[in-house]
Symmetry: C2
Subunit: 194 residues, 2 copies
Amino acid sequence: MSDAEQTRQNILTVAADEIHQHGFKATSLSVILNRCEISKGALYYHFTSKIELGYAVFEEVYTPMFLNVWHTPLTVDDPIEGLCDFLTAMTEEMSCSEVVCGCPLNNLCEEMANVDEGFRLRILCMQEQLNQLIVDALERVSGDLRDNLAFSQVGYFIVATLNGATSLSKSSRNKLLFQQVIAELCLYIRALKK
Amino acid sequence: MSDAEQTRQNILTVAADEIHQHGFKATSLSVILNRCEISKGALYYHFTSKIELGYAVFEEVYTPMFLNVWHTPLTVDDPIEGLCDFLTAMTEEMSCSEVVCGCPLNNLCEEMANVDEGFRLRILCMQEQLNQLIVDALERVSGDLRDNLAFSQVGYFIVATLNGATSLSKSSRNKLLFQQVIAELCLYIRALKK
DNA sequence: ATAATAACCAACCGCTCGGTATGTTGCAAG
DNA sequence: CTTGCAACATACCGAGCGGTTGGTTATTAT
């Protein structure tokens, strides 16, 4: 990787972390510059504006991360158990910072979806991809599932509940409420089976 | 009501609307002053700081509003149906601004819970009160419900899913995803019955 | 009549923000 | 040897922010 590309990647990584911790608007470019030990000129050489940097973080850091994380548990033999194991593992492995900072995608959705169309469309696209992953997995084992299930609806329900659960962990500052909601979610997911 | 109290209430009402629309941090005091047609001195006579104004909005506007809204459907004869009717009516009556702006409590939780302890504790208290309302209602009709239900867990699950659903409506800018998640949530809630 | 207080107003302050304009350096092509 | 561009660095700008300061007015108590 060239020096320039290295610089760019470094900016993206640091910016992704800052946005995750403080949200997009509260993220200060000067903090990113300090952490990267570069000047403002360098940043504006690679990105035309703060919001374009935000878009790049979304597309080049968050999106691949999410698709990768969700792909694994949904492509195992039994995606119902895969999903439950995945969610349960999440409650256990969740770091303190993740309890406090929440999910990057959900955070950006809450903060930016209603003020910036660029973010909104990217978030929507990501949510649809995530939902499609779940729908595909459910359809693959539809023979084992209850009849009359609306797969897309189920998918969005799961994602919505997970987001709501991270929200609860933010205010309680511990995993307990999160774990309870996930436990109930797993009961719901397992009840999808015949 | 005295003139001073009238002024104070006016500030609270306008601030509640601004915070709902733009979040706490992005809410500008000068906008509130313009809308109220008062000076900055007037605002700082009634409130010692921006964050104290935020706390007052939470306690004197959002909290009573929430407790009132949730109390009705949970104290009818059949709280299961009351809840489902309440949620379904919400999807229908939801105004355009509510689709875009989301739930004030959830918004503040996402934005402020991890940066300000004062907000965090107030939000947590509110969520616990909300959960208690649900738990009380479920316990009241526990004879009609499945055995081995963890009422508190169920309560937080419902609240979490509702919050996640409003989040989805923000990015999609329509009610469809919200309605789907609520429909699935009602299926879950009705399945609590024996 | 006067003193005090409640309820405001107008002007200003320091600070941080995103963004820009200009200057510098190293390397590579001709 | 020098020209040119990529890849930065430095210094500065205007705007908006929350908050403070020093009045002003009207009402009330003495």
